[in-house]
Amino acid sequence: MSVTKSPSQRRTPVDRVSGRSPDLPSDAEGRAPLEPSPRGLWRSPIRGPWLTSFLGTLLVPGITVIALTGFIDHWAHYPQLGGDAPVGPGADIPVLFHFPASWPSWSYAVAQGTHVTLGLVVFPIVLAKLWSVMPKLFQRPMVRSLAGAVERISLLGLVASVLVEFVTGTLDMEQGTSFGFNFNTVHYYGAWIFGVLFVLHACIKLPVVRRAYRERGVLKPLMQGLAQTKPEPPDEGGLVASNPAAPTISRRGLLAMVGGASLSILGVQVGESIGGPLRSVALLAPRGRVFGTGPNDFPVTHTAAWAQISSRMTGADWRLTVVGARTVSFTREQLLAMPQSSRTLTIACTDGWSTTQLWTGVSLATLARLAGAPGGAILRAVSVQPGQAPQIISPALYRDERSLLALRVNGVDISLDHGYPARVIMPNVPGNFNTKWVHELRFEAA
């Protein structure tokens, strides 16, 4: 989007801005402004401190929300219990948040849907922000002080880590974890790197942002159409082109384009998180499609076929064993004969999609009582799925009256893909906590 003149405009005097006159602002310490970049390379007349500041200002709230919801997801995996938490106990900051039992059961879905969707939605703004500072990369001299060198290194880390966070997050959403490394570790600690460098960068640039807003106004440049679009005065940072071309787009035009991209991404994505009729509008989202209209036709993470579930494992011989102070065993009919509770609960995957259904079954608290689960015991939910490690579930979760061992969904037996004969379903947990094809519940002292 950088801009050069069309042939008809070549005659415009080039030196009207680049010939620096003594009355041009120099920086506070009286140094002359840096020569922005090799002449003629970056000529867009809309680059400058105001545009970069404005894009940066848009990113601050977005990235803050993405970071907070990211940590909420991390803590929702109960890292203090080990299990399949993205990052195990140790080498981590303390767990600062768990969803209170009084919060609606879709709270985690909202948080994680926001994390994934907003992460995609801010990407056009990130790219525009990087475009706006491109002349910096080609500035000569590269650094003019030790402080400048330190800042350069941190900026390289900032750019690298924001791209890594975005690419790993997006790929994980679209094709599972098929990297040469562990997605969770890279995405989680990568967020530390990005977060720290982002805060540093924002603090350092705050004076530049304030100055740009003071001199140009916060929103005033947005009032200017193409005809009124003029380059900003030369700046100390070297963002403003020394020989700007005639504008082909206004600043608000660029922002409208970026906003249009963000809205388009929102439009083709968010339906897989909200569900209902909106799911079919999510034209490009991985779970934007439902393959039927029956009571069991909602998305899964893995089909029974993929999990290698055979009819022998789930047939008439299937028993649920509940182990506590004593061991109790149930057939599916016996479980169905017990007092049933029905709850509307949301399955929310860390990939960002979610689905809300009406589940019916025996509450986990009832099963814990029947087996005489010791106080404070950890629950391990064991699946018949070959090679699947037991899911670790905290006492607060299985004692929540909404947590079920579900046998039926929307008035019919749950299908094999959804975990027949029985599955765990709980409020405000990452989807993979809701173990499918369960055949054993072990309440063990922590």
């Binding site: 989007m1 679209e174 990297f179 040469g180 570790t185 530390w192 787009i249």
Partner: protein, 162 residues
């Protein structure tokens, strides 16, 4: 005395002491995080990811789209598209192209069907409709943008010429 020390530091370092302290603390956290990341994976792969994306963005991606934009401008300037109203058509091409390209980048594995195996794992179906949807969205974007342009030209024409 103290302010002279401070000035001396500023002259040699190029910024205040807080700048240095904040960066050193930040780099310590970064070093710790990098150590955690590297201990769990293929170091070579990770270095490629971290440096590769930054380099690819700055030296391949940006020059590529800048070049495409120049090509677009050169092409448009040769076409007899100048309307009496003097409304440039370029942004009505740029906007749908940029949005379509971003959607392609973000949903690349689905649009190209290269993640078909994974898709099959969870849906029991093969990737079929993403390419179609993306082409459809792209067509709608260009069509909509063209209609907006036509409406702007019509409005400009209905006003008396200066």
């Amino acid at each position: 005395m103290r302010s002279r020390l401070r000035l001396g530091f500023r002259r040699r370092y190029g910024a205040g002491a807080l700048h240095l302290i904040a960066h050193l603390l930040g780099f310590a956290v970064v070093a710790f995080a990098l150590d955690r990341i590297f201990s769990g994976g293929d170091v070579k792969q990770l270095v490629i990811w971290y440096l590769g994306f930054a380099i690819a963005h700055d030296l391949v991606f940006v020059p590529a789209y800048t070049g495409l934009d120049r090509l677009l401008r050169a092409t448009l300037s040769r076409l007899p598209l100048r309307t009496r109203a003097g409304l440039p058509v370029i942004n009505h091409v740029r906007a749908p192209a940029v949005i379509s390209a971003l959607l392609l980048i973000i949903y690349f594995p689905l649009i190209t069907g290269q993640n078909d195996g994974w898709y099959f794992q969870y849906s029991g179906h093969h990737v079929t409709h993403y390419l179609r949807n993306w082409l459809l969205i792209t067509a709608v974007l260009f069509l909509g943008s063209g209609l907006i342009y036509a409406a702007r030209v019509a409005r400009a024409r209905s006003r008396p010429a200066h």
